[in-house]
């Protein structure tokens, strides 16, 4: 009995929080827009019995998915999201790896403090932090005041409402997700391996390249997925920090839902996004699995 409960629990969790919402969204994406509340047809009417059910399924179609291919806005938005996600994942890695490396090499007694500093931003609201970046990056913002004060630039830089601001926002927001898995991998690493590499003729740099990097590979991969996957669907950062030409699928989705009130098309966009994300999610899971096996 207890074992049964233990097994059922995660499945119930998955069912309630992932599968059920997904089926609802999928159903909406197959429906038609309607001036009603909720704004789509058909609705499932259990009172009508088997005939009503048959009628309900007959009304579902792939029209909205077809629509996505007719307007180039959508695939451009997908591509642009992918591009922004890839670039910002790479930037996050560039910033995060040295930080994780420094933390793993720091004195033992400092590590908990450093770890807490990495997690500290989560203690305030994400929205507030993004707004803070608006204050920093705007033409009259802190950054420009600082640069002009130093005399480095004469005219204020336009950063806010460009893709640059989006990259800054994504790197800033998802940095901890990059640092933590890499740190975990580096911290486990036995330092005598580096000594062994040097003993066998490596310079410090090639020892890093041939030993440290491969041994933190799983951390790097995990960190990249943890940044890449949410970054693709990111909505708040592009809409607050990005400009009118920043095209991201999360923003398109939001506009379909709330500006156009076209729930079926919005749902279709969401379903396609999910299908796109399944590939990296499966790859991520496989990487985690392999890492566990290598350890075990």
């Amino acid at each position: 009995m207890r074992r049964w409960v233990l097994i059922a629990l995660p499945y119930a969790w998955l069912l309630a929080l992932f599968l059920a919402p997904f089926i609802i969204v999928l159903k909406i994406s197959l429906s038609d827009i309607a001036l009603a509340r909720p704004p789509y047809m058909p609705q499932l009417d259990f009172g009508a019995g088997l005939a009503g059910l048959r009628e309900f399924f007959a009304a579902l179609d792939f029209e909205n998915f077809w629509f996505l291919t007719t307007d180039d806005l959508y695939w451009k938005a997908y591509l642009s999201s992918l591009q922004i996600a890839v670039v910002s994942t790479f930037l996050t890695l560039l910033v995060g790896y040295p930080i994780a490396y420094g933390m793993a090499r720091s004195a033992q007694e400092w590590r908990p403090t450093l770890l807490m500093l990495v997690i500290l931003p989560f203690w305030t609201s994400f929205l507030i932090r993004v707004y803070a970046w608006m204050g920093i990056l705007s033409t009259e913002g802190l950054l420009n005041q600082f640069l002009i004060g130093l005399g480095l630039v004469s005219d204020p830089l336009t950063i806010l409402n460009t893709n640059t601001a989006v990259y800054i926002g994504i790197v800033y927001t998802y940095l901890p997700f990059m640092i933590l898995p890499i740190y975990a991998a580096l911290e486990k690493m036995d330092e005598s391996l580096l000594e062994a590499a040097e003993d066998l003729g490596c310079s410090k740099f090639s020892a890093f390249w041939l030993v440290t990097i491969p041994l933190s590979r799983n951390g790097i991969i995990a960190g990249c997925f943890l940044v890449f996957i949410p970054a693709i669907g990111e909505f708040v950062i592009p809409s607050l920090l990005g400009g009118s030409d920043t095209l991201m699928i999360g923003k398109v989705l939001w506009e379909e839902f709330f500006s156009n009130r076209d729930w079926p098309v919005a749902s279709a966009v969401a379903v396609v996004l999910l299908l796109i994300l399944i590939v990296p999610i499966v790859l991520f899971q496989r990487n985690e699995q392999k890492a566990r096996e290598a350890e075990g």
């Binding site: 391996l193 062994a196 003993d199 066998l200």
Partner: protein, 463 residues
Amino acid sequence: MAETAQKPKTKSTAPDQAFEPWEDPNAKPLIEFRGVTKRFGDFTAIDDLTQDIYEREFFALLGPSGCGKTTMMRMLAGFDMPTAGEILIAGQDMAGIPPNKRPVNMMFQSYALFPHLSIWDNIAFGLKREGRGSDAIAERVEEMLRLTRLERFARRKPHQISGGQRQRVALARSLAKAPKLLLLDEPLGALDKKLRQDTQFELMDIQEKTGTTFVIVTHDQEEAMTVASRVAVMDEGRIVQVATPAVIYEAPATTYVADFIGDVTLIAGEAKAHESVVEEVVPEPEVAAPEPLVAAAEGERAPQPNALGEWLHDRLLTRVLGPRKAAPKLLPAPEVAAVVEAPVAAPKAAPTEGLAIHWAAGQPPLVAANAPPDWAGKRVTLALRPEKVAISKARPEAANALQGKVIDIAYLGNISTYHVELANGSMIKAQMANTRRISRRDITWEDDVWVSFSDTAAAVLEE
């Protein structure tokens, strides 16, 4: 521990000339430690160490855990810098030379195998850094795999093989580059005896073929005896004695070395000129002050019962165990009656020179011919190897013969060690080859026996 370990070594270039560069004042050492001190914080791991190691040597470091063996190796390999003093390799000061620029390879005590690389790639790692051709690398790796009998595991990762196999990978990896100087930190500890012996001979073989200099750390003295040209016994960051295995074993410099290497009975006493002994058949009372064996000296550090313990013992345990001994581990002093009654054996074949060591009341002085006569009057310790002590039921014709009772027999297969308690409570270990089957053995527990040894059997050590 057997003398067979000191088999002749063929390390010298000329077969009849012994390999002893340390005896040659013109020989140039490969490694020179000059006043090297290493401190970690306020802990001194290596204390003002000066030592030369010569080319083609097989230099063994022996010592208790934490005495600084690994630290010495790490300084040679370049991972730790001396706090003071300098280290020279081939005449060149190693200060500031990084590990990858030193003509040294080290096998790590923790193996330090690369977990992301296969066994094959682990062994090839150093070779690839040298930029050799891939054919040459493959050939060398195969050779190393064959040598360490790892061919079957070449494609596995380190976590997929056993501990002993991992140790062999580490060994193969350090051997692969055939460096001028090889540092092996406990290279064979995880191997079974057979494989260990085979590998020892392989190492000696490699050493002979390539002329590599080996510095090897081992906890196994038999191994040190087998492979080493010289053995250094270390204690708390200092080298206590450096000598050939035979000298270390037969003529230890201090009781520490004697006790650390092999099995030994230590007997402390006062040396007198030998002639005087023959006349004084009964020892003088003041000389006969009870002298516990040094072997039991650790009893001084043994926990003493506190007041409650004493009370408990007196109230409860006395009935079962008998009266409490004041110092539990010290062997009891002989009773006065025993002094008078004990048969005092005057050596029959008395040599004319040497020392007589008065060590316990009621026991005959022990005769030692292998000590300078001017040590008479000093306090000395006799270090007696069990295999040099014979055991018999009848009184033997020997320079030294003592009577006692067999308390314990340790059966070791080819030999047995007898623990014989003398009348004054002292213990002496004697060893005998098991030429007969156990059931036929005539000496057994509680038997009254004689232990005997010649006047040159024991090493005489100044205190």
